[in-house]
């Protein structure tokens, strides 16, 4: 049963829509360093003042607001008192936005909750407006009082955004405050359960957005001439320059080709041996002793739960110059001092071996449970018909596992570009670094190692897009093979 709304309330409901959008927008803007009006000093003396803190960070910690300015305070180029005031203005602004956001949530409730929410929204909007105007005021005060021969400042353009939003939020919330009628005396705070549930899940949606969707926004670095610690602005927009460099500059193209060769080779070797876990499971099931089977299964699964760093520690202990192999050989009187981890021979095969050793026991589990699900009567019938061990394996077990294998294979084809970087990073040394550099590691080396953010973003971006396309294709294929989606 829906209650008939008065025309005034209908208008209010319409006004709520832009109001909520503004509230969300201002709350999101808080986290963007580029839109931070509080960072108005670009350099103090020789030192460049970095501007990488968001307004939210500045309001939480005074230290990040005054980052790089300690000397300026000490020498007296700027007054510290003014900065404390600026900090208070930031806190006011952020609190105002937070209050408005909370009020936005309340607007999903009944009249009583709406009344309270509107009151808070007016207060929040006012705080936001006062805070942002104060920031503007302090900017001018600072220009007057600071030693302008040492200090360079820029006008905080972002402050206009906050002032405009503040005014809009204030006006709209005053309007809805007037329009929404007072709640009846006996009414309690309540929200319809559909909105209540949404408000409960919202914080997690925000987290998910911040760490899974927001990184897509950083793809913009691919189109700018950005150096670590610098800024991006329309002045250093370069369009597709980095894409062109990657494919036209000979040095980069050559390296990318090597990287692709490594990536596809390692993935290809992985695909060629992807049947190993299945065969492992089939032969494991052929052993009659349950205890022995359990023993094998228990201990061959352990390496899967050990990180690649520890796998490398193991490799180090076994194959280093004074590792197990050499010590063993020496105890037989052989003069063995080879370091099997150095050098650049057969790296692809070695990596395949490590990967198989680590993963085969674990990957076999899904097939082992698959075998447990095969009807025992099939085996009995086959035995009666005179089928031998291998015939039973080939004609009963294998076909029973093939659907699972197909899905696994399709999934790994979809992931052909993602080898992960841990394994290759830990095994890298000066001699083998070019035969171990797979795509993920290349992106890491380029971006973190060389600090070449734009180019590594370009590579990572293309990889991500191809990976999504591959996944869709794989899903299509799986659907036509099995009649079921895998994604």
């Amino acid at each position: 049963m829906k209650e008939e709304l008065s025309p005034r309330e209908q208008t209010a409901n319409k006004l709520y829509i832009p109001l909520r959008i503004l509230m969300v927008l201002s709350a999101v803007l808080l986290f963007f360093p580029a839109i931070n009006p509080a960072l108005m000093i670009t350099s103090a003396g020789q030192a460049k003042v970095s501007g990488t803190a968001s307004l939210f960070t500045c309001a939480v910690s005074y230290g990040s607001l005054t980052d790089g300015l300690n000397r300026a305070f000490r020498v007296g180029w700027i007054s510290q008192g003014l900065f404390v005031m600026l900090y208070i203005a930031c806190v006011l602004l952020v609190l105002g936005i937070a209050a408005a956001a909370a009020a936005g949530c309340m607007s999903a409730g009944n009249r009583k909750l709406k009344n309270l929410g509107n009151f808070i929204a007016v207060a929040g909007g006012a705080a936001q407006l006062v805070g942002s105007v104060l920031i503007l005021v302090f900017y001018f005060l600072m220009i007057d009082s600071a030693d302008m021969s040492k200090i360079t400042m820029r006008f905080p353009n972002a402050v206009w955004i906050y002032i405009v939003i503040g005014v809009a939020v204030l006006l709209l919330s005053i309007a809805v405050m007037i329009l929404v009628p007072k709640a009846d005396k006996g009414e309690h705070f309540a929200i319809e359960s559909k909105y209540k549930l949404f408000l409960m899940i919202m914080p997690f949606l925000v987290l998910c957005f911040a760490f899974s969707y927001l990184p897509l926004f950083s793809w913009r670095y691919a189109f700018f001439d950005y150096t670590a610690g610098g800024e991006i602005s329309w002045d250093n927009f370069v369009g597709l320059k980095w894409f062109k460099i990657l494919f036209q500059n000979e040095a980069y193209t050559k390296r990318l080709l090597t990287v692709m060769k490594n990536t596809l080779a390692m993935s290809g070797l992985g695909l060629l041996t992807s049947w190993l876990p299945m065969v492992f499971a089939i032969f494991l099931a052929e052993m009659k002793s349950t205890k022995y089977r359990r023993f094998v299964q228990t201990f061959t699964t352990i390496p899967n739960f050990i990180s690649w760093v520890l796998i490398y520690a193991i490799a180090f202990a076994m194959f280093n110059t004074d590792g197990f192999i050499n010590t063993l050989l020496q105890s037989f009187g052989v003069n063995a001092t080879d370091n099997y981890l150095g050098g650049n021979s057969h790296m692809w095969l070695k990596m395949l071996a490590w990967g198989t050793w680590k993963g085969v026991g674990w990957s076999a589990i899904i097939y082992i449970s698959g075998i447990a699900g095969i009807d025992q009567q099939l085996y009995e019938a086959a035995t009666v018909d005179g089928a031998g061990r291998f015939q039973r394996m080939l004609h009963i077990t294998l076909p029973g596992l093939l659907p699972t294998y197909t899905v696994m294979l399709i999934m790994s084809i979809a992931g052909i570009l993602s080898n992960g970087m841990d394994q290759y990073l830990v095994f890298t040394n000066a001699q083998n670094k070019y035969s171990l550099e797979v795509l993920d590691l290349y992106v890491y080396n380029l971006g973190i190692g060389n600090g070449d953010i734009p180019l590594s973003t370009v590579v990572g971006m293309m990889k991500s897009i191809i990976a999504v396309v591959l996944l869709f294709v794989a899903n299509r294929v799986a659907k036509s093979v099995r009649g079921e989606n895998i994604v």
């Binding site: 549930l197 409960m200 997690f204 990184p215 670095y221 052929e286 990180s307 197990f324 590594s456 989606n485």
Partner: protein, 321 residues
């Protein structure tokens, strides 16, 4: 490992079956050869999976001189705990151990709480646009922006060089949400309904009814989540570039194995003689083994518990939305 009742019954039935069939069919020579090869292969492979851990372990509890002389191969010589006591003195190791433990406990606890709650919420048909939000969460499994944009994003949010960067991004875990949601859907709804009849709210129902009933799946995701946290190394490598005191144990071990940061340990202790001694000590391979062992032991300790959840855990890789 303790067997459940059902497993015991199964084993019994299996034995009876074998006995019956052994009388019927005698082993042929081919069978015997096959069995020898099969058992032999699995035996050798299993040993290859155990022996390295054992080898590292006996090295760390043997006297250093015996290790240097190359005598320690298959059993410890001159058993001592000196190596373990020594690494306790290295501030870096101690601190990294603390960071790893804290992030594992706090990170896993928050992840499990959040996943349980989200998993419950997304089963509620009456939620406003439930399908949309569920897809919004789940679809993030299938794309990622790439490691550098992710890093720049963390940078933008001001999380680099902060401990919480280990915790917060892992709270919403889509795979686990699917697992928990599927599990909760299989719980009969009557209990919940009667609680609502009694006037309980969503939070009460979740905490008093759904949470206790979904313990098996929550334990599964907890244990796999904890192992993930303990093993993670890339995030420390990328996010904590300027803050060595927040390195995880894995990251520190990686640095030791690469002999890159012995100076770091030396700088912590003030006087130069002690510094030199610390650096000297860290160059010793046995100390590296000891650090490795401290990082393997927690995994081996939880491993027996984990085994119970393998069947559910393997779904982690094979579920669909």
């Amino acid at each position: 490992m303790a067997m459940t009742k059902q497993e015991k019954l199964d084993a019994k039935a299996e034995k009876a079956y074998e006995k019956k069939h052994r009388r019927k069919y005698k082993l042929t020579t081919g069978d015997i050869i096959f069995n020898i090869l099969n058992y032999g292969f699995f035996g050798i492979f299993t040993i290859s999976c155990i022996f390295p851990f054992y080898y590292i372990f006996i090295n760390t509890i043997s006297s250093r001189s015996a290790v240097t002389r190359g005598e320690v191969l298959f059993y410890p010589i001159g058993v001592t705990l000196k190596n373990y006591l020594d690494i306790l003195k290295v501030d870096d190791v101690f601190r990294a151990f603390g960071v790893s433990i804290t992030r594992t406990i706090v990170g896993t606890a928050l992840m499990v709480l959040a996943t349980g709650f989200i998993g419950y919420l997304v089963t509620k048909e009456e939620m406003w646009h439930r399908k949309l939000w569920y897809r919004f969460l789940i679809i993030t499994m299938y794309f990622n922006a790439g490691i550098i944009p992710w890093y720049m994003n963390m940078n933008m949010l001001g999380l680099t060089d902060h401990f919480i960067a280990y915790i917060i991004p892992g709270i919403v875990a889509p795979y686990n949400i699917i697992l928990v949601k599927t599990y909760i859907e299989s719980i009969p709804g009557e209990l919940e309904e009667s609680a609502f009849m009694d006037g309980a709210g969503y939070l009460t129902v979740f905490w008093k009814i759904v949470w206790p009933l979904s313990r098996p799946i929550l334990a599964t995701i907890a244990i796999f989540g904890a192992v993930g946290h303990w093993n993670s190394f890339t995030d420390s490598l990328i996010l904590m570039q300027n803050t060595p005191k927040l390195y995880t144990l894995q990251h520190l071990l990686y640095n030791y194995l690469n002999q890159a940061t012995n100076i770091g340990a030396a700088m912590n202790s003030g006087d130069s003689a002690a510094a030199a001694a610390a650096a000297e000590m860290l160059n010793n391979k046995v100390i590296k083994y000891t650090v490795a062992m401290t990082s393997i032991i927690p995994i081996l300790l939880v491993y027996p518990f984990m085994q119970r959840y393998f069947e559910k855990g393997i779904m982690l890789g094979a579920v669909k939305g």
